[in-house]
Amino acid sequence: MSPPAPNPPRPEPIIRLRQASKVYGQGQAAIYALRGVDLEVARGEFVAVMGPSGSGKSTCMNIIGCLDTPSAGSYRFDGIEVGELSRDQRAVLRRHCLGFVFQGFNLLPRTSALENVELPLIYRGVGRRRRRDLAATALGAVGLTGWEDHTPGELSGGQQQRVAIARAIVSNPRVLLADEPTGNLDTERSHEVMHLLCDLNRRQNLTVVMVTHESDMAAYAGRRIHFRDGGIEATD
């Protein structure tokens, strides 16, 4: 009889919310945007967050993105207690570990695709030449080689969103947060973007958390989390 094999230590999830709440206002006027949410996302997962507006999914995403902190409960990002960090420390955490993709792309106007992608590297203090190389590689990864010098105005919506994705992954983040990345795109472009995100998730083992309204986009994710009234209603 061999002794029972010791349980391998369960790896710490990259995202772990414990009884996280967010309250606006005080006393009678207090509004709960988030009521005691428990959520874990493991490394390499692709999670879709769904729910009607006002369900708390945006607040939850802001907390996960370290743009906001929970008023109660705990949020650990890769083992770091985010609630204890200062504003600047959270900025540094975002700079090094998170990538953001927005519904409205949020690219700098009249600025070339390459320079847009370089932006996070500037804040990381990467030298000029290396920045160029990394940005060109990232643009290549989203299939935009040859479009480096085009400004957002000269690109289609789908291309713009791919530039934004390149900007999010250029700094090699641990988690990519996408807030309705296909909200401004037609169906065909939406599927292109989703294929790209899946590809990044699979090939680079990039953790992706995506907010979406559209169930056919959410279908790409490995797991779907439904929010309602500030809490998680269901997971599938």
Binding site: N62, A91, N106, L108, L119, Y123, R124, G125, S171
Partner: protein
């Protein structure tokens, strides 16, 4: 990192070229105004100093009465000076270069049918030396002419042009007070004094001739004295005052009944006046620089509002408060600095043109340019600070949602 921020600022400025240009214009005008005013003011100061130097900056004058200080009546009650005073000064005061006692009167000077009202001054050969005045033609008075009171004259440039029309006057005759004078010399042109009078409108005659044949007395109205180079006019002045008190027998308790005027004193008074005026003009111009600064603040505030989403995006991808702050501050300083440089160029051009037009020298002072650049950069920092802080304090979530 600073270079990146600088390039970022340049890009942001170029993104809205017309607006940036109009913003910069405020600073351009402010800096240009300051530079023009101060440069022209310095030019005017230099001109006054030069003019007085033409009179002879190491010159002193002795006059009877209390000069500027006493009431008007004091002059008439004080006894006049005499030729012997000038001789005593020349003999007993060390460090003097030349002494010229003189007396003047306005008279008609006639040559043939032409005549002109001019100032006739009786003096000695020391006059041209004291006043640092060259003869354009002819010669100075000889010792014999001075001693004997001969009827000879040296005419000023204006009198020469008016009566002789450019012909050689030496050896010709002019009439003063119905007496014929032989012209022996012509003075070089000095032009207008800084008080606006024509310095060349005069005729010099020997003092003794003037006293005997024109004034009919032995009065000397003023004694011009020049100190030798390197001799302090202060010391000379003190010595002269002592000697004059002795000669005029003024008791130790009594006030002087004569006055020694030092050209240095006049120089410093006049330059002080122009300096005050320059400072005043500069201050008025500085106000426009301030207005330019407010323009920068205004535009930066608009820019922060307009670029709220950009700021939110930058924060989301990892910009700290101080990164955003620096970005907007550098942008304001670059705008102001650009305005400063353009303002200097415009100001120098305007000052050069103005100096030519006003007939004052163009005084190039690097100090004021450095001050203007520093001031415009300071304007950028001061007026850029508030909008930059506003940008840095934005909540990234609200900024991202901003439409």
């Amino acid at each position: 990192m600073f270079w990146e921020t600088f390039m970022l600022a340049i890009r942001a400025i170029r993104r809205n070229l017309l607006r940036s240009a109009l913003t910069v214009l405020g600073i351009v005008i402010g800096v240009a105004a300051v530079i023009t005013m101060v440069t022209l003011g310095s030019g005017a100061t230099a001109k006054v100093t030069q003019d007085i130097a033409k009179l002879g900056s190491n010159m002193l004058q002795v006059r009877p009465g209390q000069g500027f200080r006493g009431p008007g009546g004091a002059r008439s009650s004080a006894p006049m000076l005499e030729a012997a005073d000038a001789e005593a000064l020349a003999r007993e005061i060390s460090g003097l270069d030349a002494v010229a006692p003189s007396a003047s009167q306005a008279l008609q000077v006639i040559r043939g049918s032409a005549n002109r009202s001019t100032s006739v001054t009786g003096t000695t050969d020391g006059f041209t030396r004291v006043r640092d005045w060259d003869l354009a033609a002819g010669r100075n008075f000889s010792a014999n002419e001075l001693r004997a009171g001969k009827a000879v004259g040296i005419i000023g440039h204006t009198v020469w042009k008016d009566l002789f029309g450019g012909q050689n006057p030496v050896g010709e005759t002019i009439r003063l007070n119905r007496i014929s004078f032989k012209v022996v010399g012509v003075l070089g042109a000095k032009g207008q004094s800084s008080f606006g009078t024509d310095q060349d409108d005069l005729v010099l005659v020997p003092l003794r001739t003037f006293q005997r044949r024109i004034a009919g007395n032995t009065d000397v109205q003023v004694i011009y004295v020049s100190a030798r180079d390197g001799i302090s006019t202060e010391t000379v002045r003190a010595d002269m005052e002592r000697l004059m008190r002795e000669r005029r027998r003024i008791g130790p308790e009594k006030e002087d009944d004569f006055h020694v005027r030092d050209m240095q004193e006049i120089v410093s008074t006049m330059t002080a006046t122009t300096r005050v005026l320059t400072a005043l003009l500069g201050a008025v111009a500085a106000v426009s620089l301030l207005v330019g600064g407010i323009g920068i603040m205004n535009i930066m505030l608009v820019s922060v509002t307009e670029r709220t989403r950009e700021i939110g995006t930058r924060m989301a991808i990892g910009a700290m408060e101080r990164d955003v702050m620096r970005q907007f501050l550098v942008e304001a300083v670059v705008l102001a600095g650009l305005g400063g440089v353009c303002g200097i160029l415009l100001g120098l051009t305007a000052a050069a043109a103005g100096a030519r037009w006003m007939g004052v020298p163009f005084v190039f002072s690097p100090g004021i340019m450095m001050l203007a650049v520093a001031f415009s950069a300071a304007v950028g920092i001061i007026f850029g600070y508030f909008p930059a802080r506003q940008a840095a304090r934005l909540d990234p979530i609200a900024a991202l949602r901003h439409e």
